[in-house]
């Protein structure tokens, strides 16, 4: 076996082992009574709770609701964000005009403006999509802009020298050149979207979603259900990131795969 493929095997095993090691430690501590079982029920007991939630409560429904909110808000925020970011990277007046607004709003914790979003969009689905879109918009904008700005000047010169129109330069240089940065922004945005949607669901009782499940379980002291909700949130984040990675690999076949 070559050193390279051996290393890949070790990598894969370590990656798969890491969550189980954590769970095993937790299980051991909980069973021995080193930590309070009422607040830290052992992971194996959560399996039963998980099954129960699937059969008796609508766990899949909650997952679906949260996922749709994330994806919908993501599209609403990311697509215009990419366009604005490209415009800011290419045209300095746009950049100079938008930058102060972007820098200021970017720094505000988005969950803090949820009351305003509710005033504007009501307590239904629209406000959920809006808060997710809002929370990722400027993140995508700034990363896209940075991506355009870091494109080597010689690439634009090549395009100009070979007779590219401004639109051709946009399509053949700015967009593909900024794509790696755009994906970095999208990956960060995915994390933000998850944080914000769970927070928003805490604050909108009985409207479904994983956040709602976690909060309601806590309210009635159903600690095990709450833990299942937390773990599901983690798995959702992991799965969405994985999906984005796959899309990235498809969109950027030219990018060397690292490690």
């Amino acid at each position: 076996m070559s050193t390279r493929s051996r290393r890949r095997w070790i990598e894969l095993s370590l990656t798969l082992a890491s969550p189980f090691v954590l769970l095993a430690i937790w299980e051991a501590l909980s069973r021995t009574g080193a930590i309070d079982r009422r607040f830290w029920p052992e992971p194996t007991s959560l399996l039963g709770t998980f099954w129960e939630l699937l059969r008796e409560d609508d766990l899949l429904g909650d997952i679906r609701i949260s996922t749709l909110r994330i994806l919908g808000g993501f599209m609403l925020g990311a697509i215009p964000g990419i366009f604005l970011g490209l415009a800011m990277g290419l045209f300095w007046p746009v950049r100079v005009f938008v930058m102060p607004i972007a820098a200021a709003i970017y720094a505000v914790p988005k969950i803090a403006v949820l009351p305003l979003v509710i005033i504007a969009f009501g307590t239904g689905e629209a406000s959920k999509l809006a808060i997710v879109a809002l929370s990722i918009f400027f993140l995508v904008v700034l990363n896209t802009m940075a991506g355009v700005l870091q494109i080597d000047r010689s690439f634009r010169d090549v395009a100009r020298n070979l007779g590219a129109s401004p639109f051709q330069t946009f399509v053949t240089v700015a967009l593909p050149g900024a794509l790696p940065s755009i994906f970095t922004g999208l990956r960060l945005a995915l994390g933000f979207a998850l944080i914000v949607i769970v927070g928003a669901e805490f604050l909108s009782p009985r409207k479904g979603g994983i956040g709602d499940l976690i909060w309601q379980s806590w309210q009635i002291y159903a600690i095990e259900k709450m833990f299942v909700g937390l773990i599901i949130t983690g798995v959702m984040g992991w799965a969405l990131t994985l999906a984005l990675d796959l899309i990235e690999r498809f969109a950027l076949p030219w990018k060397p795969v690292d490690s």
Partner: protein, 300 residues
């Protein structure tokens, strides 16, 4: 191989007198590589001034030179002497702030040019074939025709097998070949080359010089080539222009006497090589020292 003493034809402000027409082998018309219609370059008193926070800065000043149709002209000079600025002006990527630039085809129409850039300039997001045919894509040529041109050129530069690869899978030398093929693909009248082999190791550099000479023999385009290497200048050029430290001006114009087609080994074995090398280094040495003290001064 005729050997004659290299001589300075013109210095600084004297305009260069029209070069004597050389006998040329009839260029062969191979597929994909078309013969340029022969464009001449003439600069008169060209200057480029940049506004910097420290005040106006003349990158080049009062540059006059002329390049005959089908001539291979090499510019050597110390770092920061404005060679790249000069080339960017010829490529119409920059404009002079004084003087006159005249580019003309034999029939009086405006010539086209393509530039081979310094360092990393092939698009990492395009395959080798897509990079080479990029200029043709911009012109809306159908894919089939584009690919045919690209395939021919890749064959010419010895990269026939890597058309579907991405640049990160290639060596630096291969990437520079792609860059040259991309410039040739649009069949320009004038080929502008900005230190195309600067980042390569010496052996790869020799190979690419040989290849460039071979391609040029076939196409006989007007070439303006920038380099730091005196050796490279002598190997490739009909005419060598030695530039001074900043502000860059023409310090001397030399004619390289070696016959065409050339072989690297013949040139080095020729008794005229060493005197020519010494003459250029003699001209350059003071300028390099001056450029160095300028840069050290700027750093303080």
């Amino acid at each position: 191989m005729p050997t004659m003493n290299p001589s300075i034809i013109a210095t600084q402000t004297e305009p260069r007198i029209a070069s004597t027409p050389r006998d040329r082998a009839t260029p062969s018309l191979k597929t994909g590589v078309l013969v340029g219609s022969g464009a001449s370059i003439s600069l008169t008193g060209v200057g480029r001034r940049f506004d910097t926070p420290a005040g106006p800065l003349d990158a080049i000043k009062d540059v006059s030179l002329s390049v005959a149709p089908g001539e291979f002209c090499v510019i050597v000079g110390p770092s920061g002497c404005g060679k790249t600025t000069l080339l960017r002006i010829l490529a119409d990527l920059d404009h002079p702030t004084s003087g006159e630039v005249n580019l003309a085809r034999n029939d009086g129409t405006l010539p086209t040019n393509a530039m081979v850039f310094q360092g990393r300039s092939i698009f990492p997001w395009l395959t080798v074939t897509q990079n080479v045919s990029y200029g043709l894509t911009l012109r809306g040529l159908p894919r089939r025709e584009r690919n045919a041109v690209a395939a021919d050129l890749l064959e010419t530069v010895g990269l026939a097998k890597v058309g579907a690869s991405y640049p990160h899978q290639l060596s630096e030398g291969m990437r520079q070949r792609v860059s040259i093929a991309r410039a040739l693909a649009v069949d320009p009248d004038i080929l502008l080359m900005d230190e195309p082999f600067g980042a390569l190791d010496e052996q790869t550099r020799f190979l690419l010089q040989e290849e460039l000479l071979r391609i040029w023999e076939r196409t006989r385009k007007t070439v303006v080539f920038i380099t730091h290497s005196i050796d490279e200048a002598i190997t490739l050029a009909d005419q060598i222009i030695v530039m001074s430290a900043q502000p860059g001006t023409v310090k001397a114009v030399l004619t390289v006497p070696f016959a065409r087609p050339r072989a690297l080994t013949d040139i080095r074995a020729d008794s005229a090589f060493a005197p020519l090398f010494n003459e250029i280094w003699g001209l350059l040495r003071d300028e390099v020292l001056l450029a160095r003290s300028q840069q050290e001064g700027a750093r303080l």
